[in-house]
């Protein structure tokens, strides 16, 4: 639920064009990350955060079922996406988005639970 809430917030801010509650001007700079070319799903005008809403929503549905391979695969997809986004933030942009990091941590926690 927290992941969905964060993703909805970031998506809403993207479309509303309002400033984020986040520091700017240093290593932590949500605006620099979320206004970069990587903030959109490739080939679309949809913000990456929108895919976060879908991913967390599906995870919530899966949570209601007995743990199995589907959980591991789905959470693995989430983890790989997080690794890509971390690569973009650290290597390509050199700046970190706090809100994104909160969502990334939740994905990692879900993955760890799925494989335990």
């Amino acid at each position: 639920m927290a992941g969905i809430a964060i993703s909805i917030y970031l998506t809403a801010v993207h479309y509303a064009g309002t400033p984020l509650a986040c520091p700017t001007g240093g290593v932590v700079n949500c605006e620099a990350v979320l206004s970069s070319q990587y903030a959109l799903i490739p080939g679309t005008h949809l913000p990456t955060a929108a895919s976060g809403i879908v991913w967390f929503a599906v995870s919530a549905v899966l949570w209601l079922r007995p743990f199995g391979v589907v959980h591991a695969v789905w959470s693995g997809i989430g983890l790989l996406t997080v690794l890509y986004l971390l690569f973009v933030e650290i290597v390509r942009l050199g700046t970190i988005c706090l809100w994104c990091t909160a969502a990334h941590v939740l994905v990692v926690v879900i993955f760890l639970i799925a494989i335990t």
């Binding site: 064009g17 309002t18 400033p19 001007g25 240093g26 290593v27 700079n29 605006e31 620099a32 206004s35 970069s36 070319q37 690794l83 971390l86 690569f87 650290i90 290597v91 942009l93 050199g94 700046t95 990692v108 993955f111 760890l112 494989i115 335990t116």
Partner: protein, 276 residues
């Protein structure tokens, strides 16, 4: 086999399964290693701060970018610049001499301001003359670190067509530098509510929040290399910087009723139609 030996073997504990904490711990360690690898790659690829060029080099670079032929601009057109200059409404903004004013608000640490000063200086230099421009570079700890640029902190501008007012709010390290007047602060609040910099107000008819191209285009280059790249209309730097300069030029030509005519050419007037 003796009975006591057999009994001993049967008392051996069963082989233990791997504890449940091992897999998650391994994943966390691997993730930490991957993040560390990303940090090392970033550190390895981050360009070192380029020292400011000697004064004569600065003058040569400024002379190069402010005397590009009109044919160069016409060949680039909009180039790869994003047309994010939007039309705004409000009382006409005029400067200290009563001419239409171009107001810039930015900061020396800001990489997007660093990128945008190139086309802004180039465009404004087609309508007048800058003096006192100094080389500078964006923060080394922000995104697109050490982007080469100029600063307006000590620059003055004269023109028979427009007035220019530039405010650099912070220096390269984020320390306060210049303060906009109350009237300028009202412009910022009205047309740049999100607080994005650079903010450029063109006579209260057009406004820009942010950059018209990515500072990534300038990564790894020094001032002279960028200036040299602008001599060729097909380089990525020309397409981005001169394309952006043409958008600024088109907006300013709207303010000056297409004067001077050698600047407000047919290709520029075509760009005017694309403005917000």
């Amino acid at each position: 086999m003796r009975p006591e030996v057999k009994a001993k073997r049967s008392q051996r504990p069963a082989v233990r399964r791997t504890p449940a904490w091992v897999a998650p711990s391994a994943v966390v360690v691997v993730l930490a290693l991957i993040v560390a690898a990303f940090l090392i790659i970033r550190w390895y690829n981050t360009p070192l701060p380029v020292g400011p060029p000697p004064v004569d080099t600065t003058q040569r670079v400024v002379a190069t970018i402010t005397t590009l032929p009109a044919s160069e601009f016409d060949a680039v057109g909009q180039g790869s610049a994003n047309n994010t200059i939007k039309a705004v409404t409000g009382a006409a903004l005029t400067g200290s001499t009563g001419k239409p004013e171009v107001f810039y608000y930015g900061a020396e640490f800001c990489p997007y301001c660093a990128a945008e000063r190139w086309p802004l200086i180039i465009a404004l230099s087609r309508f007048g003359t800058f003096t006192g421009l100094q080389t500078s570079s964006s923060s080394s700890t922000d995104v697109y670190p050490n982007t080469p640029t100029f600063t307006f902190r000590s620059a003055t501008y004269t023109s028979q067509y427009i007035d220019v007012r530039a405010v650099e709010g912070s220096d390269r390290n984020g320390n306060g530098l210049q303060t906009p007047t109350a009237a300028e602060q009202q412009l910022i609040s009205r047309y740049d509510a999100g607080g994005s910099i650079p903010f450029v107000d063109l006579g209260n008819r057009y406004a820009l929040n942010g950059a018209t191209y990515s500072p990534n285009v300038l990564t790894g280059m020094d001032w002279q290399a960028i200036a040299d790249a602008l001599k060729d209309p097909v380089t990525p730097q020309s397409k981005a910087i001169l394309g952006s300069a043409n958008l600024f030029t088109a907006a300013i030509c709207r303010l000056t009723s297409n004067q001077p005519s050698p600047v407000c050419t047919a290709p520029i007037q075509a760009l005017e139609q694309k403005l917000g």
